[in-house]
């Protein structure tokens, strides 16, 4: 093995000019987040519903179909997967805060933005890199276990008719998980970009979600106008279940209470996402230029 002098040596390699430029940001963010022990415990805790649903699925698959009076919860229908995602979506709130609250304001505090943007990265690369960190964690507790449950069901009791009939569930799981994950990620990044520390972004995130929820409930109880429920961002998020799972979403326990208009909800969320993106871009751009 050659012994090199500890001095400056010319680097003979070549720099990648193709590929995903923001991937190192995501990898570093994931690595950093997993370093937090409490987060790791929480992350493991988030997989508990998966174990419960897996057991439910195994029992449900083993119960003969012709048995009379079999409990409803043992039937593996698309609403089973929607219900799983419904439960996981409450973990997403905490996961989003934990993994995303200090992603941009942490960089403000340490002036790291200049370091990022003096490298061959655009503002969009930076935003995508950070967004993917939160989205990654959200997807690991939604899409990954949900797809595993589907595969498990198919493996335990393979029925061609069930498989063909329910194949649409896979894109529904993917679409719903991706939509919820990206929306939460954009919200927290936007709050992280406009606040000076993670505590403020966490508080702002809670306030926005629960304050709009309270306002929507109050106005709905006063006016009895259904579309007022769409004021609540969490109602809008829950209404996405209806778009992806259709009538099966109605079978989720407690879902009817949150039944806001799904298309209004989706439109509101799209507008909010676009707004969040522009706020993040503007804030990153401002920090980049004027220190």
């Amino acid at each position: 093995m050659p012994i090199f002098e500890q001095t400056y040596r010319k680097w003979e390699g070549t720099l990648k000019t193709t590929g995903i430029r923001w991937l190192p940001i995501t990898k570093m963010g994931i690595k950093q987040t997993f370093k937090k022990k409490r987060f790791l415990l929480f992350f493991i805790g988030c997989q508990i519903p998966f174990l419960v649903f897996a057991i439910r699925l195994i029992i449900g698959a083993l119960v003969p179909e012709n048995i009379e009076n079999a409990p409803e919860f043992l039937k593996i229908t698309p609403s089973f997967f929607a219900h799983f995602l419904w439960i996981q979506s409450s973990f997403i709130f905490i996961m989003t805060i934990w993994s995303g609250a200090n992603l941009i304001n942490g960089d403000y505090q340490s002036n790291a933005l200049q370091l990022y943007l003096s490298k061959p990265l655009t503002q969009l690369d930076y935003i995508l890199g950070k967004l993917s960190i939160v989205a990654f964690f959200n997807l690991t507790i939604t899409v990954v276990p949900a797809i595993l449950l589907f595969i498990l069901r198919a493996l335990i009791k393979y029925e061609n008719s069930w498989f063909v009939q329910n194949l649409w569930v896979i894109p529904a799981i993917l679409g719903l998980s991706l939509a919820i994950s990206v929306i939460h990620s954009l919200f927290i990044l936007c709050l992280s970009a406009i606040t000076t520390n993670s505590r403020f972004s966490t508080i702002a995130y809670f306030i926005i979600l629960f304050f709009t929820d309270g306002i929507a409930d109050l106005l709905h109880s006063l006016r009895r106008v259904h579309s007022l429920l769409n004021i609540s961002i969490s109602n809008d998020l829950f209404s996405l279940f209806q778009i992806f799972f259709g009538k099966h979403a109605a079978k989720i326990p407690g879902y009817s209470e949150k039944m806001a208009d799904p298309y209004y909800g989706a439109a509101i969320l799209i507008v909010l996402c676009v707004l969040c993106y522009f706020v993040i871009k503007r804030r990153v751009g401002r920090i980049e230029v004027i220190q």
Binding site: T7, R21, M28, K35, S118, P120
Partner: protein, 310 residues
């Protein structure tokens, strides 16, 4: 040319941070001088594409800053002025991360990060978290981060800021080593004249967004042929009077006399006067301007034209 600007203008609202700057920077170490707010950092940021120019053009390594930003950033190493770091990671991770962001393979970047941290003198501290580093160590980490991908040009913005005397010396030694032994092109931006003088042979001086002085330091320091510095022994006051009678301008500077001989007056005249006044001449040399004088002249002479453009 490594860097070239043509009528480059950058405005912050009404303020012209860079005002029709025409400059060319060749290979080697070049100092970018100027008082605070002169437009040095704005120039660096504009060259890197952080700041959009309002008018004019600029190129780095022949690449237009308007549409080849990514390639420029790939070939340039930038060390920002401010204290900046990636929180929660060790020095080696940070430098390696910087390499990966430039497009280096993960293992290459890691190997190179170790090498560079040894080079900048942080070999022993490379596994410590960057936020626990002292200011000087953070400066070195920033330098390492800008060097990791082996750039063709280094843009160093106040690299000795906040460093103790020893660290300061070491940083200057590192920059000199990079410029003269490793053949890196360095644009050294500072308001510390001594630092620039120690490292650079060429300077560009900005003030209020305009380029005031540009050229080789050695040439800029030269005064006209008829200015001399003398150290004499004897009746100095009488000697000065005698010189003034012969239409010479004389200034005293500590123990030295600075003498401006009238046009076409030979040097011999000084010796003649000294002989007449029984003075001993202990030292005589052609006078050179100090960098401070060049700087002060340029700063005072705001409305003047470019002093030199070589």
């Amino acid at each position: 040319m490594i860097i070239e600007t043509n009528e480059l203008t950058v405005k912050y609202g009404e303020l012209r941070a860079l005002d029709t700057v025409n400059l060319t920077i060749g290979e080697g170490a070049v100092g970018l001088l100027g008082p605070n707010g002169a437009g040095k950092t704005t120039l660096l940021r504009t060259l890197l594409g952080f700041q959009k120019s309002n008018e004019g053009e600029a190129s780095v390594l022949g690449l237009d800053i308007k549409d080849r930003q990514m390639e420029i950033r790939r070939r340039v190493g930038y060390m920002p002025e401010m204290d900046c770091f990636i929180p929660g990671i060790s020095g080696v991770s940070m430098v390696s991360y910087m390499g990966q962001l430039c497009g280096m393979h993960r293992l290459d970047a890691l190997q190179r990060a170790h090498e560079i941290l040894f080079y900048v003198g942080l070999g022993e501290a490379r596994y410590r978290e960057v936020q626990t580093y002292s200011t000087g160590m953070k400066q070195r980490t920033k330098l390492a981060g800008s060097l990791v991908h082996d750039p063709e040009i280094l843009l160093l913005d106040e690299p000795t800021n906040g460093m103790d005397p020893e660290g300061h010396e070491e940083m200057l030694a590192l920059i000199s080593d990079l410029a003269y032994k490793r053949n890196k092109n360095v644009l050294f931006c500072s308001h510390l004249l001594q630092d620039v003088e120690r490292v650079c042979k060429d300077i560009r001086l900005l003030n209020e967004g305009k380029l005031r002085v540009s050229g080789e330091l050695k040439t800029l320091k030269q005064e006209s042929d008829n200015v001399y510095r003398l150290r004499v022994k004897g009746d100095v006051l009488a000697f000065i009077e005698a010189l003034k009678l012969k239409h010479c301008r004389v200034e005293t500077d500590k123990d030295d006399l600075k003498i401006w001989l009238p046009e076409k007056t030979p040097l011999k005249r000084i010796f003649e006067i000294a002989y007449q006044r029984k003075m001993q001449i202990r030292h005589l040399s052609r006078s050179e301007k100090s960098l401070e004088e060049i700087f002060m002249d340029a700063v005072k002479n705001n409305n003047g034209d470019l002093d030199a453009n070589l």
